[in-house]
């Protein structure tokens, strides 16, 4: 199994507070890796390290290495290049205060794409992929922030796909989305698996079970266990804590 991301001995501190206490694991190419764990366990922090937006947080210190396709991300000179490889979807939808079209065209434009017909095509494809096209195709010029919460979340997914990322990170994307839309997005993710590597941070254990190939369980900054879903959700994963967590016995 080809490795897309290798994380080794990753430690993150916010001032005195240690958010990740030395975790190591790999993300395979074209898999959906679930990351589960109770609140405050360091899941979001993990994603922020991967696209290096952790650098905007004053006082955050990162030790250990993360490599993508074998390249250490810390040594990548152009951080924007790195971020364009990674699509990021946040828990609460952040429609930029631009039109729907401009929201999706934002990243390609930032990367230098100007050709109108290519942009049109890209915007349409991303909106179709995120299951939003039918609802917005007649009003691409209206403000993205005026969509409903669920629609905005699909807009952010379209946006995250717009720069054709190799890695797609979703951070509890379904918090503000209704169950039906969640299922539609889950279908989209399953389809995307053939093209991109997906890290799915989720509070919903069942979502990880449905969707992921493997799942990692993080607790208070420690990686408790990572394994295929067959093992993680079986009656005897390696750690008793994993069993308790996925069966809702604590947390």
């Amino acid at each position: 199994m080809a490795k897309k991301i290798e994380i080794s001995n990753l430690r993150v501190r916010y001032g005195q507070k240690e958010a990740l206490k030395g975790v190591s694991f790999d993300v395979h190419k074209n898999e959906i890796l679930g990351v589960v764990g109770p609140a405050q366990s360091g899941k979001t922090t993990l994603l922020k390290v991967i696209n290096r937006t952790i650098e905007f947080i004053p006082g955050a210190r990162v030790e250990g290495t993360v490599t993508i396709d074998g390249d250490n991300i810390q040594s990548i000179k152009n951080v924007n290049e790195l971020r364009r490889k990674i699509g990021m979807v946040f828990p609460l939808p952040v429609g930029l205060p631009l039109s729907i079209y401009d929201n999706v065209a934002f990243a390609p434009r930032a990367a230098g794409l100007r050709d109108k017909s290519k942009l049109d095509e890209l915007v349409e494809r991303c909106l179709i992929q995120s299951a939003l096209w039918d609802e917005v195709k007649d009003r691409l010029d209206s403000l993205g922030t005026k969509l409903s919460g669920g629609q905005q979340q699909r807009l952010t997914i379209a946006r995250a796909l717009s720069h054709q990322p190799e890695i797609l990170c979703l951070d509890e994307f379904s918090i503000a989305v209704d169950p039906v839309t969640t299922m539609r997005i889950e279908d989209v993710l399953k389809e995307l698996r053939s093209e991109v590597t997906i890290i799915l941070v989720t509070n919903l254990v069942q979502q990880a079970r449905r969707l992921c190939n493997r799942t990692a369980f993080i607790l208070n900054g420690d990686l408790i266990e990572i394994d295929s879903n067959e093992v993680m959700f079986s009656d005897n994963p390696a750690q008793k804590m994993t069993y308790d967590y996925v069966h809702g016995n604590f947390g």
Binding site: N51, T53, F56, P58, N80, E81, L82, R83, R84, I86, M88, F90, L92, V94, L96, P97, L98, F106, A107, R109, A110, A111, L143, T156, R159, A160, S162, H163
Partner: protein, 297 residues
């Protein structure tokens, strides 16, 4: 228990009354001022003053013995030229500084900057006028080999220095009000810092930034003392920025004390006041419409 809730409802009502009073009194004051200015000038405005000539003639000779002429065109041009020049300087500088302070500054530098900016804003306008009269005057004479340094350029620079702090502090507030999640989202999409600023922050903060610019213009149009001292005070239609001019406000300030109360001259000065009122009203209205237009888009 019952007593307590009655007490509460009484205090509630009193507070509401006070707030209501404050709101109405603000409106009352504005109308009161307008009414007063209007009353002082209205006699001459409706009988005697040729309004066409008032607005289109550059000849301002209110104290001539044989032939009094009240034309404010030159004064209007003075106000317009000084304001335009000052905005041409202050808007780019002010907005640039606002962006710098809000987006590029470390927290320590930011504090220092804010203190300096607030200090600048607190300098009384006479002091600015004094700087124009002494320092800038000499600089302009030396630099441009001009006969006199009290010019549109001088007044424009002084006014720009006075409006920049307003534009910076309000502009910075506007940018600070843009949620961080926008910045994060844009950066996660691989946008460079500059792209984040002009693609996301400026559109998101445009109402506030526009307000900042308009308040700057308001300050420039309404400023009296500094321009009185820095622009040379000669009534003429400026042909370039090294000409001396006189503004509407400076005229009122300089002549009101000498005009006999109730005379035509006295009343004309109040009519100029009405004109200034109208200008600010139009600027405010235009900005309101622009902001609404942007919002509805």
């Amino acid at each position: 228990m019952i007593n307590r809730s009655r007490l509460e409802s009484v205090t509630e009502r009193i507070i509401e009354g006070i707030i209501r009073f404050c709101g109405f009194s603000a409106i009352l004051f504005v109308f009161g001022i307008f009414f007063f200015v209007f009353r002082e000038g209205s006699g001459f405005l409706f009988s005697g003053l040729d309004i066409g000539q008032f607005l289109t003639s550059p000849e301002w000779f209110p104290t001539s013995v044989s032939n009094k002429r009240y034309g404010v065109l030159a004064l209007l041009a003075g106000t317009a030229s000084v304001t335009a020049l000052s905005m041409a300087i202050a808007v780019p500088f002010g907005l640039g500084a606002a962006i710098f302070v809000s987006e590029f500054c470390g927290p320590k530098l930011k504090e220092t900057f804010k203190i300096v900016i607030e200090l600048l804003a607190a300098i009384p306008s006479v002091v600015w006028g004094f700087i124009g009269l002494t320092v800038m005057n000499g600089v302009i004479i030396d630099l441009f080999d001009a006969p006199i340094g009290l010019t549109v350029l001088n007044g424009g620079i002084i006014l720009a220095l006075m409006s920049v702090p307003i534009i910076v502090s309000i502009g910075e507030d506007a940018l600070k009000a843009v949620p961080d999640s926008y910045r994060e989202a844009a950066e996660a999409l691989g946008a460079t810092r500059w792209q984040v600023i002009y693609r996301v922050l400026l559109p998101a903060g445009k109402n506030g930034l526009l307000a900042a610019v308009l308040l700057g213009i308001g300050r420039a149009v309404g400023e009296t003392m500094a321009v009185l001292m820095a622009t040379g005070h000669s009534v003429q239609f400026p042909s370039n920025i090294l000409d001396s001019v006189r503004t509407l406000t400076a005229t009122i300030a300089a002549e009101l004390g000498e005009a006999p109360v109730g005379s035509d001259h006295y009343q004309v000065l109040f009519i100029i006041g009405i004109l200034l009122f109208t200008i600010t009203f139009i600027v405010n209205l235009a900005s309101d419409l622009v902001v609404k237009g942007i919002r509805n888009k």
